[in-house]
Symmetry: C2
Subunit: 454 residues, 2 copies
């Protein structure tokens, strides 16, 4: 018998981890709800026709494909079979894949249910996704995503409220973040000003790597993509401008660039004091190419956490054509996501989970004889009916064995019942932290909130 | 462009459905928690080595298998490929499958984490599972299961508390159920008394179909399995006994049968008045063959709902060897599950979801001009900070368009802001149900709980 295991890159979640993750999600959901976003859920499996081609060539390779059921070889591509061409064979033996992100399923959902929902449609979605990436420390093949989007309006009101959501969520979690904002139109303005509008995407992808490869690396990448040295340096020169006002002059001849500036200014005007940590950052590029307007990223405030190295805790932006690939045009949307895995790690490291997040029971009953066990079991139910989380060791076995169980479960109180307690209708309540032990009537315990127990 | 769709047997969940399902799960979790059960989660994909052979030959066929990534044909079974034998090929091109239930992953979890958990280990698990069944009305390929189990003790205390959990959960959901209890040892006693101990499993499977095929059908099935006519009639004769006392006599020569009776009696003694709807039912068999002691089923009380035809809303029992297949012996456990899909349908049909379960926002702001829109957006944030779920139409467009949006979102109140309201710092609050409309200062709105709005 081999030792059982689980697929690489996947995880079992122990009770404390489930509780902590749910704490994060509950805080997030509470904010989403006050902002008028409602939850949807989509199936784990989507048709490969829906998923394929949406995440680039690399993404297609990382899709988990589900084998058709039954005699799947019956309809298999014979030529691919004979020549052992795996990738060519796939579509004939697999028609379903696992959800790779929440954006494509959301687009598919909007198109399929367009007659059942009212636009602007504000939804959030918190579900796991799967990617066949090589697992690394902190990178898994199964992980939760948490997205909040609104589609069906191009109003900047939504950019502004999403910034308020970022601010409110991270504040509620106790995390100090800066929220970086830029605009794809500003980046296009930079490209136009540098005379490389036709290399906009290559420029954006290069800029996106600034943190990793530095100024020289970005220039080298631009050169390798056919951008001239003059233009590359012009781009970097523009990127050194820190304020919107400095850029305005440079965008004298770029209508798009000016529009981008106006959009970002409007977001600042709309958020005002409600999002004091919103920061314009021209270096923010966000590699994915479907964004068309404002782009965002939430990063830890390095002045507060100089020691903590962690990438962004979330990001997002405006996309003008979410659903076009499914045949529904002109559906503008904007959304952000929360990097639940990273938020978890950071909160764990900073000790930000409230002490009782992973609480098990409040009290464990310990019976010293069989009759006391029966009495204890009855009391247990009364206490549970009162909403107190409690439990009992299953047998009136040796005291130290029962106390070990209480310790293993990190129980704050034990209620010991022996003959004398039973006869007097009492328990010996022991505070496991202070060691204080006192005999109190069970009815007293029942009528006292746990927070008032000594 | 073809219309996008989702795999057969899967579903998108609209916001109201997510909210209702979460209402059920929240009620269930609240009870689980007071009884000292803690949540775990296991990966969506398990190794096929873990899953295969655990659900019978039929079950193996219903497993969704995930294709290995990359050049999966490289290691494919050449013989199976050439002879086009799909089932023979599977294990060489797929090493992962989707979770089929929560029991096998739990057993695997217990074995893998045996040194991190304390026994008795009480866990609950609420996650989707996947089965390649032919989809039918009410039967899906992806659906939630909700299991609660304790392993590492054979104490009947746990049988008793699981019955209390059934009782408390269904009461909290507003459903009147009967909880049927039987014991596999009693069924073995029946087999012994009828002289067919060697046909115990065949007899049990036949009895399990009583509701579907009737007495004659059960007898016919037993005959077809090599049970004599005399024995078959003897079984049915014993099955007609309604009380434990009647059975005791018949079990004079069956030690196992007597033990089963004692166990059920003890469960009744332990639960007492706390589970008034616990009913002994000798007809209860539960087809799956891993149960070894008490077995349970929760069914709607037909006297309360004579019109509602619905199978069991949950079931479970004692199994003496959960983890043996993974090399860990003598791990007795007992658990029950809740049929979340059926509970949802029944509650929907009976109108048992609280009115505000699927509530969206409390109030929608409607601005009549651009300046009022800016004012409204500021007020919106203040109201959200006060915990009120609210929203605003993205533009100061025509009143009727904004009112239509409010109606579509079933908003209970709209707060209209035109020039006069803005200047006086007020809104015209309209109750969408009563039609009552009144001008009130925004600060008044902010300081009044929504439940007190007129």
């Amino acid at each position: 018998m081999t030792k059982p295991s689980i697929p690489k890159g996947t995880r079992d979640f122990m009770p404390a981890d489930v509780a902590k993750r749910n704490y994060i999600f509950d805080q997030i959901k509470k904010v989403f709800t006050t902002f008028g976003y409602v939850p949807i859920e989509t199936p784990t499996m989507e048709l490969l026709a829906t998923l394929t081609g949406k995440y680039g060539e690399e993404g297609d390779k990382l899709l988990f494909k589900v084998l058709n059921n039954g005699d799947f070889l019956k309809d298999a591509n014979k030529e691919a079979l004979e020549s052992l061409q795996s990738q060519k064979l796939v579509s004939s033996i697999s028609k379903r894949g696992l959800r790779y992100d929440l954006t494509v399923p959301f687009a598919r959902f909007v198109v399929m249910h367009q007659n059942e929902i009212s636009f602007p449609f504000k939804r959030y979605q918190i579900q796991p996704v799967w990617r066949a990436d090589s697992p690394q420390r902190g990178r898994f093949q199964e992980f939760y995503q948490c997205d909040v989007d609104v589609v069906g309006s191009d109003s900047l009101m939504y950019e502004a409220e999403l910034m308020q959501i970022y601010h409110d969520v991270f504040r509620s979690l106790g995390l100090n973040v800066n929220i970086l904002v830029n605009n794809r139109k500003i980046l296009f303005g930079v490209a136009e000003a540098a005379g490389i509008a036709d290399h906009f995407m290559e420029m954006t992808i290069a800029i996106d790597k600034m943190d990793k490869i530095g100024r020289d690396g970005v220039i080298a990448e631009m050169l390798s993509k056919g951008i001239s040295e003059t233009s590359a340096h012009h781009v970097l020169d523009l990127m050194s401008k820190k304020t919107l006002d400095e850029l305005k002059e440079a965008f004298a001849n770029s209508e798009t660039g000016q529009k981008g500036i106006t959009e970002v200014e409007n977001v600042f005007a709309l958020t005002g004091e409600s999002v004091p940590n919103l920061v314009f950052s021209i270096n923010l590029a966000r590699g994915l190419n479907y964004y068309t307007g404002c782009i965002f990223e939430a990063v830890l405030d390095a002045t507060v956490y100089p020691e903590l190295k962690m990438g962004s805790l979330g990001g997002g932006g405006r996309y003008d054509d979410l659903t076009g690939t499914f045949g529904m045009k002109d559906m503008s949307g904007v959304g952000v996501s929360f990097g639940a895995e990273r938020i978890f790690i950071v909160m764990e490291e900073l000790g930000l989970f409230p002490e009782n997040t992973a609480k098990d029971i409040d009290v464990l009953f310990i019976a010293l004889d069989d009759e006391s066990h029966l009495t204890g079991f009855k009391w247990l139910y009364q206490l549970r009916q009162a909403g107190v989380a409690c439990d009992m060791y299953p047998k009136a076995t040796k005291m130290n064995k029962q106390m070990k169980y209480a310790n293993d479960r990190k129980v704050p109180y034990v209620a010991i019942i022996g003959e004398s307690e039973r006869i007097s209708g009492s328990v010996s309540l022991k505070n496991m932290e202070t060691g204080v032990q006192q005999v109190i009537p069970f009815t007293g315990l029942l009528n006292t909130p746990v927070s008032d127990w000594v």
